[in-house]
Protein backbone atom coordinates (compact mmCIF):
# COMPACT_ATOMS: atom_id res chain seq x y z
CA UNK A 1 0.00 0.00 0.00
CA UNK A 2 1.50 3.34 -0.98
CA UNK A 3 1.65 6.27 1.46
CA UNK A 4 -0.82 8.11 -0.74
CA UNK A 5 -3.34 5.27 -0.52
CA UNK A 6 -2.93 5.07 3.27
CA UNK A 7 -3.43 8.82 3.72
CA UNK A 8 -6.66 8.99 1.68
CA UNK A 9 -8.96 7.40 4.30
CA UNK A 10 -7.28 9.48 7.00
CA UNK A 11 -8.11 12.68 5.16
CA UNK A 12 -11.65 11.45 4.69
CA UNK A 13 -11.91 10.71 8.42
CA UNK A 14 -10.64 14.19 9.27
CA UNK A 15 -13.24 15.69 6.95
CA UNK A 16 -15.88 13.52 8.58
CA UNK A 17 -14.90 14.69 12.08
CA UNK A 18 -14.80 18.28 10.86
CA UNK A 19 -18.31 18.00 9.42
CA UNK A 20 -19.67 16.62 12.70
CA UNK A 21 -17.96 19.48 14.53
CA UNK A 22 -19.37 22.02 12.09
CA UNK A 23 -22.87 20.65 12.63
CA UNK A 24 -22.72 21.39 16.38
CA UNK A 25 -23.19 25.20 16.20
CA UNK A 26 -26.21 24.60 13.96
CA UNK A 27 -27.68 22.16 16.47
CA UNK A 28 -27.13 24.69 19.25
CA UNK A 29 -28.84 27.42 17.23
CA UNK A 30 -31.78 25.13 16.40
CA UNK A 31 -32.13 24.29 20.12
CA UNK A 32 -32.16 27.99 20.92
CA UNK A 33 -34.81 28.79 18.32
CA UNK A 34 -36.99 25.88 19.34
CA UNK A 35 -36.78 26.68 23.04
CA UNK A 36 -34.21 24.09 24.07
CA UNK A 37 -34.91 20.47 23.36
CA UNK A 38 -38.57 19.79 22.94
CA UNK A 39 -39.53 16.53 24.55
CA UNK A 40 -38.35 17.58 27.97
CA UNK A 41 -41.34 18.17 30.22
CA UNK A 42 -42.32 17.11 33.62
CA UNK A 43 -44.32 14.30 32.05
CA UNK A 44 -41.06 12.57 31.24
CA UNK A 45 -41.00 10.96 34.65
CA UNK A 46 -44.59 9.80 34.89
CA UNK A 47 -46.33 6.88 33.26
CA UNK A 48 -47.04 8.62 29.99
CA UNK A 49 -43.31 8.95 29.38
CA UNK A 50 -43.18 5.29 28.41
CA UNK A 51 -46.00 5.94 25.97
CA UNK A 52 -44.02 8.79 24.51
CA UNK A 53 -41.14 6.45 23.89
CA UNK A 54 -43.42 3.86 22.36
CA UNK A 55 -44.78 6.48 19.99
CA UNK A 56 -41.29 6.89 18.47
CA UNK A 57 -41.83 10.60 18.09
CA UNK A 58 -45.36 10.37 16.68
CA UNK A 59 -46.75 11.79 19.92
CA UNK A 60 -49.53 13.83 18.33
CA UNK A 61 -51.01 10.83 16.57
CA UNK A 62 -50.96 8.80 19.78
CA UNK A 63 -52.65 11.73 21.52
CA UNK A 64 -55.38 11.66 18.83
CA UNK A 65 -55.88 7.94 19.35
CA UNK A 66 -56.22 8.47 23.11
CA UNK A 67 -58.57 11.36 22.45
CA UNK A 68 -60.86 9.16 20.41
CA UNK A 69 -60.65 6.43 23.05
CA UNK A 70 -61.59 8.93 25.74
CA UNK A 71 -64.57 10.11 23.65
CA UNK A 72 -65.67 6.53 23.17
CA UNK A 73 -65.41 6.01 26.91
CA UNK A 74 -67.67 9.04 27.55
CA UNK A 75 -70.10 7.92 24.93
CA UNK A 76 -70.38 4.29 25.90
CA UNK A 77 -70.98 4.60 29.63
CA UNK A 78 -73.51 6.35 31.86
CA UNK A 79 -71.94 9.04 34.07
CA UNK A 80 -72.38 6.92 37.20
CA UNK A 81 -70.46 4.08 35.57
CA UNK A 82 -67.55 6.27 34.53
CA UNK A 83 -64.37 6.18 36.51
CA UNK A 84 -63.09 9.72 37.11
CA UNK A 85 -59.60 8.45 37.84
CA UNK A 86 -59.45 6.69 34.50
CA UNK A 87 -60.82 9.70 32.65
CA UNK A 88 -58.35 12.01 34.31
CA UNK A 89 -55.61 9.57 33.41
CA UNK A 90 -56.75 9.56 29.76
CA UNK A 91 -56.68 13.33 29.56
CA UNK A 92 -53.43 13.50 31.44
CA UNK A 93 -51.85 11.17 28.88
CA UNK A 94 -53.40 13.03 25.93
CA UNK A 95 -52.05 16.32 27.17
CA UNK A 96 -48.63 14.88 28.01
CA UNK A 97 -48.40 13.55 24.47
CA UNK A 98 -49.70 16.75 22.92
CA UNK A 99 -49.32 19.60 25.44
CA UNK A 100 -50.82 22.10 22.97
CA UNK A 101 -54.10 20.18 22.51
CA UNK A 102 -56.17 22.94 24.14
CA UNK A 103 -59.51 21.27 23.49
CA UNK A 104 -58.45 18.20 25.45
CA UNK A 105 -57.88 20.35 28.55
CA UNK A 106 -61.14 22.20 27.97
CA UNK A 107 -63.40 19.21 27.34
CA UNK A 108 -61.69 17.02 29.90
CA UNK A 109 -61.57 19.72 32.57
CA UNK A 110 -65.20 20.72 32.10
CA UNK A 111 -66.50 17.16 31.96
CA UNK A 112 -64.59 16.17 35.08
CA UNK A 113 -65.62 19.29 37.00
CA UNK A 114 -69.31 19.53 36.13
CA UNK A 115 -71.59 17.81 38.58
CA UNK A 116 -73.76 14.87 37.42
CA UNK A 117 -75.76 14.32 35.26
CA UNK A 118 -73.66 16.39 32.83
CA UNK A 119 -70.25 15.64 34.27
CA UNK A 120 -68.51 13.59 36.92
CA UNK A 121 -68.49 16.14 39.75
CA UNK A 122 -64.71 15.85 40.23
CA UNK A 123 -64.19 19.60 40.39
CA UNK A 124 -60.65 19.58 41.69
CA UNK A 125 -59.52 17.06 39.09
CA UNK A 126 -61.03 19.22 36.35
CA UNK A 127 -59.28 22.27 37.78
CA UNK A 128 -56.00 20.33 37.95
CA UNK A 129 -56.27 19.51 34.25
CA UNK A 130 -57.05 23.11 33.32
CA UNK A 131 -54.16 24.33 35.48
CA UNK A 132 -51.87 22.04 33.53
CA UNK A 133 -53.30 23.45 30.29
CA UNK A 134 -52.63 27.01 31.45
CA UNK A 135 -49.03 26.13 32.30
CA UNK A 136 -48.46 24.50 28.91
CA UNK A 137 -50.33 27.16 26.88
CA UNK A 138 -49.65 30.44 28.64
CA UNK A 139 -50.95 32.51 25.71
CA UNK A 140 -54.32 30.82 25.36
CA UNK A 141 -57.31 32.70 26.76
CA UNK A 142 -59.82 29.84 26.57
CA UNK A 143 -58.24 27.80 29.36
CA UNK A 144 -58.32 30.45 32.12
CA UNK A 145 -61.80 31.42 30.91
CA UNK A 146 -63.07 27.85 31.22
CA UNK A 147 -61.42 27.44 34.62
CA UNK A 148 -62.92 30.74 35.80
CA UNK A 149 -66.42 29.44 34.99
CA UNK A 150 -65.70 26.27 36.95
CA UNK A 151 -64.54 28.25 39.99
CA UNK A 152 -67.54 30.53 39.61
CA UNK A 153 -70.22 27.87 39.34
CA UNK A 154 -69.01 24.95 41.45
CA UNK A 155 -66.72 25.79 44.38
CA UNK A 156 -68.19 29.32 44.06
CA UNK A 157 -64.79 30.84 44.69
CA UNK A 158 -65.61 34.19 43.11
CA UNK A 159 -62.28 35.84 43.83
CA UNK A 160 -60.39 33.01 42.15
CA UNK A 161 -62.85 33.14 39.24
CA UNK A 162 -62.39 36.90 38.94
CA UNK A 163 -58.60 36.47 38.86
CA UNK A 164 -58.91 33.92 36.07
CA UNK A 165 -61.36 36.05 34.06
CA UNK A 166 -58.86 38.87 34.33
CA UNK A 167 -56.00 36.57 33.34
CA UNK A 168 -58.00 35.52 30.25
CA UNK A 169 -58.72 39.14 29.34
CA UNK A 170 -54.99 39.93 29.34
CA UNK A 171 -53.99 37.27 26.82
CA UNK A 172 -52.62 38.46 23.49
CA UNK A 173 -54.62 38.57 20.28
CA UNK A 174 -58.05 39.23 21.79
CA UNK A 175 -60.41 41.67 20.13
CA UNK A 176 -61.17 44.76 22.26
CA UNK A 177 -64.78 43.60 22.57
CA UNK A 178 -63.79 40.17 23.88
CA UNK A 179 -61.23 41.72 26.21
CA UNK A 180 -63.91 44.03 27.60
CA UNK A 181 -66.35 41.12 28.00
CA UNK A 182 -63.87 39.17 30.05
CA UNK A 183 -63.00 42.18 32.17
CA UNK A 184 -66.74 42.53 32.72
CA UNK A 185 -66.95 38.93 33.85
CA UNK A 186 -64.07 39.55 36.26
CA UNK A 187 -65.87 42.58 37.62
CA UNK A 188 -69.10 40.61 38.06
CA UNK A 189 -67.25 37.83 39.81
CA UNK A 190 -65.62 40.29 42.20
CA UNK A 191 -69.02 41.83 42.92
CA UNK A 192 -70.52 38.41 43.46
CA UNK A 193 -67.71 37.64 45.88
CA UNK A 194 -68.45 40.84 47.76
CA UNK A 195 -65.50 42.82 46.41
CA UNK A 196 -67.59 45.67 45.05
CA UNK A 197 -64.79 48.18 45.18
CA UNK A 198 -62.56 46.18 42.81
CA UNK A 199 -65.55 45.32 40.65
CA UNK A 200 -66.40 49.02 40.27
CA UNK A 201 -62.82 49.83 39.30
CA UNK A 202 -62.85 47.21 36.54
CA UNK A 203 -66.20 48.48 35.20
CA UNK A 204 -64.75 51.97 35.19
CA UNK A 205 -61.80 50.78 33.07
CA UNK A 206 -64.21 49.08 30.68
CA UNK A 207 -66.34 52.22 30.51
CA UNK A 208 -63.33 54.37 29.74
CA UNK A 209 -61.61 52.07 27.26
CA UNK A 210 -64.31 50.12 25.46
CA UNK A 211 -64.77 51.03 21.79
CA UNK A 212 -68.36 49.79 21.74
CA UNK A 213 -71.23 52.07 22.83
CA UNK A 214 -73.27 49.08 23.91
CA UNK A 215 -70.44 47.80 26.08
CA UNK A 216 -69.93 51.26 27.61
CA UNK A 217 -73.63 51.48 28.41
CA UNK A 218 -73.48 48.06 29.99
CA UNK A 219 -70.43 49.10 32.07
CA UNK A 220 -72.23 52.27 33.19
CA UNK A 221 -75.28 50.26 34.22
CA UNK A 222 -73.04 48.04 36.32
CA UNK A 223 -71.29 51.04 37.91
CA UNK A 224 -74.70 52.49 38.82
CA UNK A 225 -75.76 49.14 40.20
CA UNK A 226 -72.66 48.91 42.41
CA UNK A 227 -73.12 52.49 43.60
CA UNK A 228 -76.77 51.76 44.34
CA UNK A 229 -75.77 48.68 46.34
CA UNK A 230 -73.25 50.76 48.31
CA UNK A 231 -76.01 53.27 49.14
CA UNK A 232 -78.35 50.44 50.11
CA UNK A 233 -75.73 49.20 52.60
CA UNK A 234 -75.18 52.68 53.99
CA UNK A 235 -78.92 53.31 54.42
CA UNK A 236 -79.39 49.88 55.99
CA UNK A 237 -76.72 50.80 58.58
CA UNK A 238 -78.68 53.99 59.28
CA UNK A 239 -81.84 51.92 59.58
CA UNK A 240 -80.19 49.79 62.28
CA UNK A 241 -79.21 52.97 64.08
CA UNK A 242 -82.84 54.19 63.84
CA UNK A 243 -84.20 50.91 65.27
CA UNK A 244 -81.67 51.09 68.09
CA UNK A 245 -82.64 54.68 68.85
CA UNK A 246 -86.42 54.43 68.49
CA UNK A 247 -87.11 50.74 69.13
CA UNK A 248 -89.00 50.18 65.86
CA UNK A 249 -88.87 50.51 62.09
CA UNK A 250 -89.60 53.86 60.40
CA UNK A 251 -92.58 54.03 58.07
CA UNK A 252 -90.33 55.08 55.17
CA UNK A 253 -86.65 55.95 54.51
CA UNK A 254 -87.62 59.62 54.59
CA UNK A 255 -88.49 59.19 58.30
CA UNK A 256 -84.84 58.39 58.90
CA UNK A 257 -83.87 61.68 57.30
CA UNK A 258 -86.43 63.60 59.29
CA UNK A 259 -85.22 62.02 62.53
CA UNK A 260 -81.64 63.06 61.75
CA UNK A 261 -80.31 59.50 61.54
CA UNK A 262 -79.54 60.18 57.86
CA UNK A 263 -77.82 63.49 57.29
CA UNK A 264 -78.54 65.59 54.15
CA UNK A 265 -81.67 63.68 53.23
CA UNK A 266 -82.14 60.40 51.39
CA UNK A 267 -79.84 60.35 48.34
CA UNK A 268 -81.12 59.73 44.86
CA UNK A 269 -80.66 56.15 43.63
CA UNK A 270 -78.11 56.09 40.76
CA UNK A 271 -80.21 53.47 38.99
CA UNK A 272 -83.32 55.61 39.18
CA UNK A 273 -86.47 54.86 41.18
CA UNK A 274 -86.32 55.34 44.95
CA UNK A 275 -85.16 53.66 48.12
CA UNK A 276 -87.77 51.56 49.90
CA UNK A 277 -88.00 49.71 53.17
CA UNK A 278 -87.83 45.91 53.22
CA UNK A 279 -89.28 45.32 56.70
CA UNK A 280 -88.95 41.52 56.68
CA UNK A 281 -85.17 41.66 56.35
CA UNK A 282 -84.84 45.05 58.05
CA UNK A 283 -83.01 46.66 55.16
CA UNK A 284 -83.27 49.59 52.77
CA UNK A 285 -83.37 48.60 49.12
CA UNK A 286 -83.47 50.33 45.77
CA UNK A 287 -86.84 49.91 44.08
CA UNK A 288 -85.27 49.57 40.62
CA UNK A 289 -82.59 47.11 41.67
CA UNK A 290 -85.11 45.06 43.66
CA UNK A 291 -87.50 45.02 40.73
CA UNK A 292 -84.76 43.72 38.47
CA UNK A 293 -83.59 41.12 40.98
CA UNK A 294 -87.15 39.90 41.53
CA UNK A 295 -87.63 39.58 37.76
CA UNK A 296 -84.40 37.60 37.44
CA UNK A 297 -85.29 35.29 40.34
CA UNK A 298 -88.74 34.62 38.94
CA UNK A 299 -87.45 33.97 35.44
CA UNK A 300 -84.93 31.52 36.90
CA UNK A 301 -87.55 29.72 39.01
CA UNK A 302 -89.96 29.45 36.08
CA UNK A 303 -87.22 28.01 33.90
CA UNK A 304 -86.39 25.41 36.55
CA UNK A 305 -90.06 24.56 36.95
CA UNK A 306 -90.28 23.97 33.18
CA UNK A 307 -87.12 21.86 33.34
CA UNK A 308 -88.70 19.81 36.13
CA UNK A 309 -91.73 19.15 33.93
CA UNK A 310 -89.49 18.09 31.06
CA UNK A 311 -87.71 15.58 33.27
CA UNK A 312 -90.63 14.26 35.35
CA UNK A 313 -93.66 14.93 33.15
CA UNK A 314 -95.37 17.37 35.51
CA UNK A 315 -94.68 20.63 37.33
CA UNK A 316 -93.44 20.46 40.94
CA UNK A 317 -96.31 20.02 43.37
CA UNK A 318 -95.11 22.78 45.65
CA UNK A 319 -92.51 25.48 45.97
CA UNK A 320 -90.70 23.25 48.41
CA UNK A 321 -90.47 20.50 45.81
CA UNK A 322 -89.05 23.03 43.32
CA UNK A 323 -86.55 24.17 45.95
CA UNK A 324 -85.41 20.56 46.57
CA UNK A 325 -85.09 19.95 42.82
CA UNK A 326 -82.90 23.02 42.39
CA UNK A 327 -80.73 22.29 45.39
CA UNK A 328 -80.29 18.57 44.89
CA UNK A 329 -80.36 18.08 41.14
CA UNK A 330 -78.80 21.19 39.71
CA UNK A 331 -75.69 23.18 40.48
CA UNK A 332 -77.67 26.33 41.25
CA UNK A 333 -79.09 27.56 44.55
CA UNK A 334 -82.68 28.52 45.27
CA UNK A 335 -82.74 32.34 45.09
CA UNK A 336 -84.08 34.05 48.19
CA UNK A 337 -86.68 36.76 47.51
CA UNK A 338 -84.65 39.99 47.23
CA UNK A 339 -86.96 41.76 49.71
CA UNK A 340 -87.30 38.75 52.00
CA UNK A 341 -90.93 38.18 51.00
CA UNK A 342 -92.53 34.94 49.87
CA UNK A 343 -92.97 33.64 46.33
CA UNK A 344 -96.42 32.60 45.17
CA UNK A 345 -96.48 29.34 43.25
CA UNK A 346 -99.22 27.80 41.10
CA UNK A 347 -98.67 24.01 40.67
CA UNK A 348 -101.20 23.94 37.81
CA UNK A 349 -99.26 26.28 35.54
CA UNK A 350 -95.84 25.85 37.19
CA UNK A 351 -95.55 29.64 37.39
CA UNK A 352 -93.87 31.50 40.23
CA UNK A 353 -94.74 35.09 41.13
CA UNK A 354 -93.48 37.56 43.66
CA UNK A 355 -95.49 37.99 46.84
CA UNK A 356 -94.93 41.73 46.60
CA UNK A 357 -95.23 44.06 43.64
CA UNK A 358 -93.03 47.16 43.46
CA UNK A 359 -94.51 50.22 41.77
Amino acid sequence: MSVRTAIKPLIALVILAALVAVSIPFQIRIDEIRGRFRSVEESLYISSSSLKKLSLGYDELLADIYWIRALQYFGSKKPEEQNPELLYHYFDIITDLDPRFVNAYRYGGTFLAEPPPFGLGETMKGIELLDKGRRNNPENYKLPLEEAFIYYFYPKDYEKAAGLFREASEKPGLSPLRKASMKGMAASAHARGGNNELSRKIWEIIYETSPSDGRREFALRNINEIDTMALEDKLTESLKEYVKRYGGLPSSPEDMARSGVVKNGIPEAPMGGKFILAPTIEAVKSSELSKRRIQEAIAFLNAKSARYKKLYGDFPRSLDELRKFIELETTAVFPAHPLGEEYIYDPETGKVESGIVID
Binding site: A12, V22, S23, I24, F26, I30, L56, W67, R100, N103
Partner: protein, 267 residues
Protein backbone atom coordinates in the same frame (compact mmCIF):
# COMPACT_ATOMS: atom_id res chain seq x y z
CA UNK B 1 -20.83 15.31 -11.78
CA UNK B 2 -22.23 13.91 -15.03
CA UNK B 3 -21.39 10.41 -13.82
CA UNK B 4 -23.08 11.03 -10.46
CA UNK B 5 -26.20 12.25 -12.25
CA UNK B 6 -26.13 9.22 -14.51
CA UNK B 7 -26.04 6.84 -11.50
CA UNK B 8 -28.77 8.92 -9.83
CA UNK B 9 -30.95 8.70 -12.93
CA UNK B 10 -30.57 4.91 -13.07
CA UNK B 11 -31.33 4.58 -9.37
CA UNK B 12 -34.48 6.64 -9.79
CA UNK B 13 -35.65 4.59 -12.78
CA UNK B 14 -34.93 1.39 -10.86
CA UNK B 15 -36.95 2.60 -7.87
CA UNK B 16 -39.88 3.45 -10.14
CA UNK B 17 -39.63 -0.02 -11.69
CA UNK B 18 -39.73 -1.40 -8.15
CA UNK B 19 -43.22 0.15 -8.03
CA UNK B 20 -42.49 2.36 -5.05
CA UNK B 21 -44.92 4.91 -6.44
CA UNK B 22 -47.64 2.48 -5.41
CA UNK B 23 -47.01 3.91 -1.95
CA UNK B 24 -48.85 7.02 -3.13
CA UNK B 25 -51.98 5.01 -3.83
CA UNK B 26 -51.62 3.31 -0.45
CA UNK B 27 -51.20 6.68 1.18
CA UNK B 28 -54.26 8.15 -0.54
CA UNK B 29 -56.40 5.19 0.52
CA UNK B 30 -55.15 5.32 4.13
CA UNK B 31 -55.74 9.04 4.32
CA UNK B 32 -59.18 9.19 2.76
CA UNK B 33 -60.57 6.23 4.68
CA UNK B 34 -59.06 7.11 8.02
CA UNK B 35 -59.93 10.77 7.82
CA UNK B 36 -63.51 9.85 7.01
CA UNK B 37 -63.67 7.53 9.99
CA UNK B 38 -61.59 9.34 12.61
CA UNK B 39 -62.58 12.89 11.84
CA UNK B 40 -66.26 11.98 12.17
CA UNK B 41 -65.74 10.72 15.74
CA UNK B 42 -63.26 13.31 16.86
CA UNK B 43 -65.65 15.80 18.50
CA UNK B 44 -64.95 18.57 15.97
CA UNK B 45 -61.17 18.18 15.91
CA UNK B 46 -61.31 17.42 12.17
CA UNK B 47 -58.26 19.26 10.90
CA UNK B 48 -56.05 18.21 13.81
CA UNK B 49 -56.83 14.53 13.29
CA UNK B 50 -56.39 14.71 9.51
CA UNK B 51 -53.14 16.69 9.71
CA UNK B 52 -51.68 14.55 12.50
CA UNK B 53 -52.63 11.34 10.77
CA UNK B 54 -51.52 12.50 7.32
CA UNK B 55 -48.19 13.92 8.40
CA UNK B 56 -47.47 10.81 10.45
CA UNK B 57 -48.36 8.62 7.48
CA UNK B 58 -46.04 10.65 5.22
CA UNK B 59 -43.29 10.28 7.79
CA UNK B 60 -43.76 6.54 8.31
CA UNK B 61 -44.11 5.73 4.60
CA UNK B 62 -41.14 7.98 3.77
CA UNK B 63 -38.93 6.43 6.44
CA UNK B 64 -39.88 2.90 5.39
CA UNK B 65 -39.05 3.68 1.76
CA UNK B 66 -35.80 5.41 2.80
CA UNK B 67 -34.74 2.44 4.88
CA UNK B 68 -35.79 -0.39 2.60
CA UNK B 69 -34.55 1.17 -0.60
CA UNK B 70 -31.51 2.67 1.16
CA UNK B 71 -30.26 -0.64 2.53
CA UNK B 72 -30.43 -2.23 -0.90
CA UNK B 73 -28.68 0.60 -2.71
CA UNK B 74 -25.18 -0.84 -2.52
CA UNK B 75 -25.82 -4.36 -1.34
CA UNK B 76 -28.06 -5.22 -4.31
CA UNK B 77 -25.42 -4.14 -6.82
CA UNK B 78 -22.76 -6.20 -5.04
CA UNK B 79 -25.04 -9.22 -4.66
CA UNK B 80 -26.11 -9.14 -8.32
CA UNK B 81 -22.48 -8.52 -9.27
CA UNK B 82 -23.61 -5.60 -11.41
CA UNK B 83 -21.08 -3.59 -9.45
CA UNK B 84 -18.30 -5.15 -11.59
CA UNK B 85 -20.04 -3.86 -14.65
CA UNK B 86 -20.30 -0.40 -13.17
CA UNK B 87 -16.69 -0.19 -12.04
CA UNK B 88 -15.43 -1.46 -15.37
CA UNK B 89 -16.55 1.96 -16.60
CA UNK B 90 -14.66 5.14 -15.69
CA UNK B 91 -16.67 5.71 -12.52
CA UNK B 92 -15.21 6.27 -9.09
CA UNK B 93 -16.56 4.64 -5.95
CA UNK B 94 -17.54 7.93 -4.32
CA UNK B 95 -19.41 8.90 -7.51
CA UNK B 96 -21.28 5.62 -7.30
CA UNK B 97 -22.24 6.27 -3.62
CA UNK B 98 -23.22 9.90 -4.22
CA UNK B 99 -25.14 8.98 -7.38
CA UNK B 100 -27.05 6.20 -5.62
CA UNK B 101 -27.89 8.57 -2.79
CA UNK B 102 -29.04 11.32 -5.11
CA UNK B 103 -31.22 8.89 -7.07
CA UNK B 104 -33.02 7.80 -3.96
CA UNK B 105 -33.40 11.40 -2.79
CA UNK B 106 -35.14 12.25 -6.07
CA UNK B 107 -37.42 9.22 -5.67
CA UNK B 108 -38.30 10.28 -2.15
CA UNK B 109 -38.85 13.86 -3.32
CA UNK B 110 -41.43 12.73 -5.89
CA UNK B 111 -43.19 10.47 -3.38
CA UNK B 112 -43.17 13.05 -0.57
CA UNK B 113 -44.46 15.77 -2.87
CA UNK B 114 -47.22 13.46 -4.12
CA UNK B 115 -48.27 12.52 -0.59
CA UNK B 116 -48.12 16.14 0.59
CA UNK B 117 -50.38 17.28 -2.25
CA UNK B 118 -52.93 14.54 -1.59
CA UNK B 119 -52.96 15.43 2.10
CA UNK B 120 -53.14 19.13 1.42
CA UNK B 121 -56.20 18.64 -0.79
CA UNK B 122 -57.87 16.69 1.98
CA UNK B 123 -56.95 19.32 4.57
CA UNK B 124 -58.28 22.06 2.28
CA UNK B 125 -61.56 20.22 1.81
CA UNK B 126 -62.03 19.79 5.54
CA UNK B 127 -60.96 23.32 6.38
CA UNK B 128 -63.33 24.82 3.84
CA UNK B 129 -66.16 22.71 5.20
CA UNK B 130 -65.51 23.56 8.86
CA UNK B 131 -64.02 27.02 8.35
CA UNK B 132 -65.55 28.69 11.44
CA UNK B 133 -64.83 25.84 13.82
CA UNK B 134 -61.19 25.57 12.84
CA UNK B 135 -60.58 29.30 13.21
CA UNK B 136 -62.25 29.22 16.62
CA UNK B 137 -60.39 26.19 17.95
CA UNK B 138 -56.98 26.64 16.37
CA UNK B 139 -56.84 30.33 15.48
CA UNK B 140 -55.68 29.77 11.91
CA UNK B 141 -55.08 27.34 9.07
CA UNK B 142 -51.27 27.31 9.10
CA UNK B 143 -50.79 26.22 5.48
CA UNK B 144 -47.19 27.48 5.40
CA UNK B 145 -46.45 25.51 8.56
CA UNK B 146 -48.01 22.46 6.93
CA UNK B 147 -45.57 22.60 4.01
CA UNK B 148 -42.73 23.36 6.40
CA UNK B 149 -43.60 20.21 8.34
CA UNK B 150 -43.49 18.17 5.10
CA UNK B 151 -40.18 19.80 4.15
CA UNK B 152 -38.69 18.95 7.56
CA UNK B 153 -39.91 15.38 7.15
CA UNK B 154 -38.14 15.26 3.79
CA UNK B 155 -34.93 16.49 5.43
CA UNK B 156 -35.28 13.63 7.89
CA UNK B 157 -35.62 11.16 4.99
CA UNK B 158 -32.38 12.53 3.52
CA UNK B 159 -30.56 11.75 6.76
CA UNK B 160 -32.22 8.34 7.09
CA UNK B 161 -31.21 7.36 3.53
CA UNK B 162 -27.65 8.36 4.47
CA UNK B 163 -27.74 6.15 7.57
CA UNK B 164 -29.13 3.21 5.58
CA UNK B 165 -26.49 3.76 2.93
CA UNK B 166 -23.68 3.62 5.50
CA UNK B 167 -24.90 0.30 6.87
CA UNK B 168 -25.69 -1.01 3.41
CA UNK B 169 -22.06 -0.48 2.41
CA UNK B 170 -20.69 -3.07 4.83
CA UNK B 171 -23.42 -5.46 5.99
CA UNK B 172 -26.42 -7.49 4.85
CA UNK B 173 -29.83 -5.87 4.19
CA UNK B 174 -31.42 -7.46 7.28
CA UNK B 175 -28.68 -6.20 9.57
CA UNK B 176 -28.68 -2.83 7.79
CA UNK B 177 -32.41 -2.47 8.36
CA UNK B 178 -32.03 -3.39 12.02
CA UNK B 179 -29.15 -0.99 12.57
CA UNK B 180 -30.90 1.81 10.70
CA UNK B 181 -34.10 1.46 12.71
CA UNK B 182 -32.01 1.34 15.86
CA UNK B 183 -30.28 4.60 14.96
CA UNK B 184 -33.64 6.18 14.01
CA UNK B 185 -35.05 5.20 17.42
CA UNK B 186 -32.05 6.71 19.21
CA UNK B 187 -32.21 9.80 17.02
CA UNK B 188 -35.88 10.29 17.88
CA UNK B 189 -35.01 10.43 21.58
CA UNK B 190 -31.87 12.49 21.33
CA UNK B 191 -33.19 15.01 23.85
CA UNK B 192 -33.43 12.25 26.48
CA UNK B 193 -29.69 11.74 26.10
CA UNK B 194 -29.18 15.46 26.51
CA UNK B 195 -31.41 15.49 29.55
CA UNK B 196 -29.38 12.62 30.99
CA UNK B 197 -26.22 14.64 30.40
CA UNK B 198 -27.75 17.51 32.35
CA UNK B 199 -29.01 15.41 35.22
CA UNK B 200 -26.03 13.12 35.75
CA UNK B 201 -23.53 14.10 38.47
CA UNK B 202 -20.34 12.63 37.06
CA UNK B 203 -18.65 15.18 34.75
CA UNK B 204 -17.18 12.42 32.60
CA UNK B 205 -20.56 10.77 32.01
CA UNK B 206 -22.07 14.17 31.36
CA UNK B 207 -19.41 14.98 28.79
CA UNK B 208 -19.79 11.57 27.19
CA UNK B 209 -23.60 11.91 26.98
CA UNK B 210 -23.25 15.40 25.55
CA UNK B 211 -20.82 14.07 22.93
CA UNK B 212 -23.22 11.23 22.04
CA UNK B 213 -26.04 13.76 21.75
CA UNK B 214 -24.02 15.83 19.34
CA UNK B 215 -22.86 12.89 17.22
CA UNK B 216 -26.05 10.86 16.82
CA UNK B 217 -28.54 12.15 14.25
CA UNK B 218 -30.89 14.47 16.15
CA UNK B 219 -34.01 13.43 14.27
CA UNK B 220 -36.25 15.23 16.77
CA UNK B 221 -35.09 18.42 15.13
CA UNK B 222 -37.03 17.46 12.01
CA UNK B 223 -40.38 17.25 13.79
CA UNK B 224 -42.53 20.35 13.37
CA UNK B 225 -45.75 18.42 12.78
CA UNK B 226 -47.37 20.00 15.80
CA UNK B 227 -46.82 23.48 14.31
CA UNK B 228 -48.82 22.45 11.23
CA UNK B 229 -51.85 22.17 13.53
CA UNK B 230 -51.25 24.92 16.08
CA UNK B 231 -48.90 27.30 14.28
CA UNK B 232 -45.69 28.40 15.92
CA UNK B 233 -41.96 28.57 15.76
CA UNK B 234 -41.12 27.58 12.16
CA UNK B 235 -39.31 30.78 11.17
CA UNK B 236 -36.79 31.23 8.33
CA UNK B 237 -33.89 30.90 10.78
CA UNK B 238 -35.07 27.52 11.95
CA UNK B 239 -35.61 26.35 8.37
CA UNK B 240 -32.12 27.53 7.39
CA UNK B 241 -30.30 26.01 10.36
CA UNK B 242 -32.17 22.73 10.15
CA UNK B 243 -31.46 22.48 6.41
CA UNK B 244 -27.76 23.17 6.94
CA UNK B 245 -27.67 20.64 9.77
CA UNK B 246 -29.30 17.99 7.56
CA UNK B 247 -26.93 18.73 4.67
CA UNK B 248 -23.81 18.61 6.84
CA UNK B 249 -24.89 15.45 8.60
CA UNK B 250 -25.78 13.76 5.32
CA UNK B 251 -22.47 14.77 3.82
CA UNK B 252 -20.72 13.22 6.82
CA UNK B 253 -22.71 10.01 6.33
CA UNK B 254 -21.90 9.90 2.62
CA UNK B 255 -18.21 10.36 3.34
CA UNK B 256 -18.37 7.57 5.92
CA UNK B 257 -20.13 5.30 3.42
CA UNK B 258 -17.51 6.17 0.81
CA UNK B 259 -14.63 5.38 3.22
CA UNK B 260 -16.15 1.99 3.96
CA UNK B 261 -16.97 1.32 0.34
CA UNK B 262 -13.50 2.37 -0.83
CA UNK B 263 -11.97 -0.30 1.43
CA UNK B 264 -14.31 -3.00 0.21
CA UNK B 265 -12.73 -5.62 -1.97
CA UNK B 266 -14.86 -7.27 -4.64
CA UNK B 267 -13.87 -10.82 -5.32
Amino acid sequence: MRRILSVAHNTFIEAIRDRVLYSLILFAIIMILSSLVFASISAEQYNKIVKDLGLTAISIIGILISVFLGIGLVYKEVERKTVYNIFSKPIKRYEFIFGKYLGLCITLFVITLGMALILFLLVLLIEIRYEGLISFYYGGHYYAEFFNAVYFEYLEFLVVIGIALVFSSFTTPVMSALFTFFVIAIGRFSSDIRLFAEEVKSPFTALFSEAVYRIIPNLEKFDVRSEAVYGGIVNPDLILYTTVYAVIYTLALLILATIIFERKEFK
